[in-house]
């Protein structure tokens, strides 16, 4: 499939420019630019990443054993995902096959991360749009508004998030900058007291997660036409699956399918991911554009993340989440499973799966084991891949004989989804903005499309005084004719 139009206008110098910067409720520094002709028709729409992160340079030259801690500073939202992906890559460098205790502690940590990240995204970032409407009163369209009108939902979101953080704290050693996972294993197992504390709330988390899945379903049912069509487009997909085809967020082989559902490769060893995936660059964005080599640079873009994982796995290996997955796939003759807003439904199914997986792991006595570390023949290269909350995360390191990292390559979920997000905003621009007077509510439609992917565009910089949103409408001669501001 080739990318739709609206990526590049033929005569941009003649067009009006609208800039949405920064995107609100999106992590990091992103902006959207729209170029409009004299009739208000959208001629070009682009999602830009305006910060160059230089991840790889940050890591080069460091001793490899520092990397699992250092990479957590790349992202304040999913540090555990970077922590674990780095460890998986460096397991290969130290030649380790994990002990059962080490693998299960890491899995527990990972599912805690999935739970807390999905809870934050749905309850705090997306539910205001979904519960009140994309162009509802902006003064109400926020988490305070949700808390006022849906107090139980807001409270559950906070407590689900907190529970995931507690799972992380008990497995990683502390809430942030955890050191629990190390190349070759883990440095602590779980105590019985820690298990009991977590288990005491595990069933409540499952119940609330299940309620959240049902809530998204009701939202679809109440506004079916909007949810079916909004920012929806055909796309190829990429995700990890377990050897038996099950959803597995910690480990597996790569599966890719084209937009018609034809499997391009399955259970592919991620150790040589570069034989399957290449990265393109475009002059207007710092973020690369990965593509599936089997389809080529123009047609090979794809989508990762919850919607891909839930629809492209063969089954979910926990019963409640599997039942919800089947309902999701069957709903509206399968249309929800290909809709961009289906991300939210799939995300809540994964949150339910994470809650169930945590409960199951807490009943596994391997968590209390003392055999924590493994080793083997030292290697110069390691690749670690897992399914982070936002999608497939790749860490790739080369380590020299002095134990220093000499090369690093990271492909994060938001990079995988770069082109898909661009296509989403073009669909929205074409459907909702063409020829209309721009309002904050209409422009929020663009943000709703981006937020469905839950992008993490930049990482872990936060300072007081940095969150305004301004939209400037600029004539071709640079004259600002209209300004819309939040904040």
């Amino acid at each position: 499939m080739s990318a739709p139009s609206l990526e590049t206008a033929r005569h941009p110098e003649r067009l009006r420019r609208v800039v949405i910067e920064p995107l609100s409720r999106v992590e990091g520094h992103g902006k959207v630019t729209l170029l409009l002709d004299e009739h208000g028709q959208v001629e070009q729409a682009r999602l830009h990443i305006v910060e160059f992160r230089a991840f790889e340079k940050f890591i080069q030259g460091r001793p490899y054993w520092e990397v699992p801690v250092m990479v957590q500073r790349l992202c304040g939202i999913c540090p555990v995902s970077h922590h674990l992906a780095a460890c998986k890559a460096l397991d290969q460098v130290v030649g380790a096959t994990l002990t059962p205790t080490a693998e299960k502690i890491r899995r527990l940590m990972h599912y805690g991360q999935i739970l807390q990240s999905h809870a934050l995204h749905f309850f705090h970032l997306s539910s205001p749009d979904l519960l009140f409407g994309f162009d509802s009163d902006i003064a109400r369209r926020n988490i305070v508004g949700v808390a006022a009108e849906y107090p139980d939902i807001a409270r559950q979101g906070v407590l689900l998030r907190r529970y995931g953080q507690e799972v992380i704290r008990h497995t990683a050693g502390k809430r942030i900058h955890g050191t629990g996972s190390v190349p070759g294993g883990v440095n602590k197992s779980l105590t019985h007291d820690e298990r009991d504390v977590l288990l005491a709330d595990a069933y409540q988390m499952i119940a609330w997660s299940r309620d959240a899945v049902r809530l998204v379903r009701r939202l679809f049912e109440q506004n079916l036409e909007l949810y079916r069509r909004f920012a929806t487009f055909p796309t190829s997909t990429l995700n990890l699956v377990r050897a038996d085809g099950a959803l597995d967020l910690y480990h597996g082989g790569l599966r890719a399918r084209d937009a018609s559902g034809h499997t391009l490769f399955d259970h592919a060893d991620y150790d040589h991911y570069w034989e399957r995936i290449a990265e393109d660059v475009k002059a207007w964005s710092y973020m690369k554009f990965p593509y599936l080599k089997a389809l080529g640079g123009d047609a090979g873009w794809y989508r990762v993340g919850p919607l891909t994982r839930v629809t492209q796995c063969d089954f979910i290996p926990t019963p409640l989440a599997e039942r919800e997955r089947r309902d999701f796939l069957a709903f509206d003759d399968g249309r929800a499973a290909v809709a961009t807003l289906g991300f939210h439904w799939a995300r809540m199914i994964e949150m339910l799966h994470a809650a169930e997986a945590i409960k199951d792991l807490l009943h596994d006595d391997d968590l209390f084991g003392t055999d924590l570390m493994a080793g083997g023949r030292r290697e110069a290269r390691g690749v670690g891949v897992l399914e982070a909350p936002r999608g497939t995360l790749i860490h790739h390191y080369r380590v020299d004989e002095h134990d220093q990292v000499v090369r690093a390559n990271l492909i994060v979920a938001t990079t995988h989804n770069n082109q898909a997000m661009n296509v989403a905003i073009r669909e929205v621009a074409r459907r909702y903005l063409d020829g209309r007077q721009l309002t904050e509510g209409l422009l929020n439609h663009i943000e709703v499309a981006v937020r469905a992917f839950d992008p993490c565009l930049s990482c872990a910089t936060h300072a007081v005084g940095r969150m305004p949103l301004s939209v400037d409408l600029v004539e071709p001669d640079g004259r600002v004719v209209d300004t819309l501001r939040r904040g």
Binding site: G76, H124, A154, C456, H462, V464, G465, R486
Partner: protein, 149 residues
């Protein structure tokens, strides 16, 4: 919940690897080393909704953060529940954490202050700017005062 929370909570925010964003964690580490009685210190990259639950049973809360709109090297502001939630990204402002506490618990949050250190650069791998280094030194006695008043 912590089993024995201090009566004063210091919530320091920032990423130690991003230039002046490190001022919160640096001041927090100094505070931990000082070992002031009745003071608990939490460090995180960003403020999030669950931090509202850390406010339980506190007499006072002090947020410590880098500040890009400060009109002095160090600013101390009283913080009240509220804030412009519509502009949030994945991170909350201190006022929003207080408001989340009020919404979740149904009670008024403890009195809170923001100690801000003027900051200017945030690139990954950067060290502290001279201005932020100076600001940290100037902020230290203010932080101790806020914790012990």
């Amino acid at each position: 919940m912590p089993s024995r929370p201090g009566s004063v909570l210091v919530l320091a925010v920032g990423n130690p690897s991003r230039g002046d964003d490190a001022v919160g964690p640096l001041l927090a580490e100094r505070l931990v080393a000082a070992g002031l009685p009745g003071v608990e210190v939490l460090i995180d990259f960003q403020l999030q909704v669950e931090h509202a639950l850390d406010l339980e049973h506190r007499e006072r809360v002090v947020f410590v953060d880098a500040c890009v709109d400060a009109d002095a090297p160090v600013v101390v502001r009283r913080v009240f529940a509220g804030g412009h939630f519509a502009h949030t990204s994945h991170a909350l402002a201190p006022a929003q954490v207080l408001d989340t506490y009020r919404r979740v618990t149904g009670r008024e949050p403890p009195p809170a202050w923001l100690l801000g250190v003027r900051a200017e650069r945030f690139a990954l791998g950067d060290g502290l700017s001279p201005a932020a280094t100076h600001g940290c030194d100037a902020a230290w006695p203010r932080l101790v005062e806020l914790c012990t008043r």
